[in-house]
Assembly symmetry: C2
Homo-oligomer: 302 residues x 2
């Protein structure tokens, strides 16, 4: 039987793309000593530390967010200006290069202070990625799928370096902390992803649902601000309710004095990354997504 679908021989596993997200970084340490956990008969995995300088500094990044440095126009600059631009060029060389990558699939491990649970961040909606999401959802039904649509045909994220890419976001966990539950949770999600790849390669997938619920990112919502300060905070009816519907007129923020600021959009949306610390720092309170059911295209379902 002819197989028009990609066979995955080389997988790149990346932790520490953000230096203060300790979970992925320490899973790499585990897998350095237990490589059998991340290899299967049909593929090999290699481990990559994303931003070692930021890790040593105990920060998300040193000069600029590494996970926004992987657009083609940024990667091809002759003279990278920041520590992160230089690291992006190195990772592009080691994992990619983009458009001619030596790895078929890259999995990038992230955590968030928001109540993400297990979120799979996809950049594509082809058969492979949707089968992957359906397979992980089969084993962990609380898994959520977030799709970030490309902008002008490109993406700035590390997991856009290879033809296939997955970012795993697990939360809530503070930056700079390693928790056993989140660590075990991320370990499980990666094991499911790698089991899937092996089964995909070998054409032995279990029956999967025919459609996947996805949250498609639409826009960011700025924090209320007053000069250098926040002018309000996420309303308590929204806080920790990632993926739940927000209707026009619903309370969205409270000012410092307690007054309610409602959601002024005209249709129902679904907030993600609510009060993620790294986004609050940039003045973003949350992202809003549309919720859709996306049909899983024919692939290796058997």
């Amino acid at each position: 039987m002819k197989n028009p679908l990609p066979h995955i021989r080389n997988v790149a596993l990346v932790g520490g793309t953000h230096g203060n997200e300790l979970t992925g970084i320490h899973l790499l340490r585990r897998w350095e000593r237990n490589p059998e956990e991340v290899n299967r008969s049909s593929f090999n995995s290699r481990l990559f530390m994303g931003n070692p300088e930021a890790f040593r500094a105990g920060r998300r990044y040193v000069e600029t967010d590494l996970n926004r440095c992987f657009r083609r126009d940024l990667l091809t600059r002759a003279d990278p200006a920041t520590i992160e631009a230089r690291r992006a060029a190195e990772l592009n060389e080691a994992i990619g290069p983009k458009d001619a990558a030596k790895h078929d699939l890259v999995i990038d491990l992230h955590t968030t202070t928001s109540c993400a649970g297990t979120m799979l961040v996809l950049l594509d909606e082809d058969a492979f990625h949707l089968h992957l999401a359906a397979y992980i959802g089969l084993h962990d039904p609380a898994t959520r799928v977030c799709i970030i649509p490309p902008q002008s045909g490109d993406q700035p994220y590390l997991h856009s370096l290879c033809p296939l890419g997955l970012a795993v976001e697990i939360g809530p966990i503070p930056q700079g902390v390693l928790r056993r539950d989140i660590y075990a949770h991320m370990h499980r999600a990666v094991m499911h992803a790698l089991d899937f790849v092996d089964r995909w390669n070998e054409g032995r997938l279990p029956p999967l649902q025919e459609a996947v619920d996805v949250f498609r990112i639409r826009e960011s919502v700025p924090c209320p601000v007053e000069g250098d300060y926040l002018g309000g905070m996420v309303h308590e009816a929204v806080q920790d309710r990632d993926y739940e519907p927000l209707h026009p007129g619903d309370p969205l923020f409270r000012t410092l004095s307690g007054d309610i600021l409602p959601y002024t959009g005209s249709d129902t949306v679904y907030p993600l990354f609510i009060n993620e610390a790294a986004y609050v720092e940039k003045g973003i309170a949350m992202f809003l997504a549309d919720r859709e059911s996306v049909r899983v295209p024919p692939g290796r379902r058997i």
Copy 2:
């Protein structure tokens, strides 16, 4: 009736001693506009931003932890070497000076990533401080009291600047995040503290319990480490269980591979600040305290 106990005329309220603990910083903003909330007929409050440079940088501190800069030998150095040492000298001038302070009481507002709930951190166990703890506990029975014994007769903390001092720790909340529930929680704790001060001044305290449960800090517990990395994490039976007893032989950590490391001490202790991010960064997994019932000395109980 003669009153041997201090009358409080001037209160200093401090937020942002750590620049990424946003809750106190934004309560200050609220009180700037609503000063009537923090003043009472018997005393005045003044508001102080602890570390504005660290706040602008989105970090706990720029060069060194400001809240370890207030020992007498540090404050009297002729040439402060760091941004924080210089800021400590300014705050010593504005709030203190230590041993001759222009404020009778300083209240310093902190948050933590650990499950502290409402923790009152006291440096003294005199009538005033224990009455204060008993009064706040009357209104919020989940309040916990932590005592940090002095070292060589001094303390490095900001709230040691005045004759009377209280640090309020509220958690869990990630660094760099403002949450409505934690913000309301801290606001309530400060209102109770200020109501107490007014009642103390006026000799109209309600009946209070005759003893206060305190957690007296004994020592810190280092994180398991392997070179630059953590070698393990707090065991799931201990994580989020601040104030609960830890017995000899109880599981304390898990290694990255999942092996259990037990608590090897010889008596029962009570962990505090479990997985506080700022301490993990310094290699401290938690503090251990003794739990004691301390009698509230005769004061203004009526």
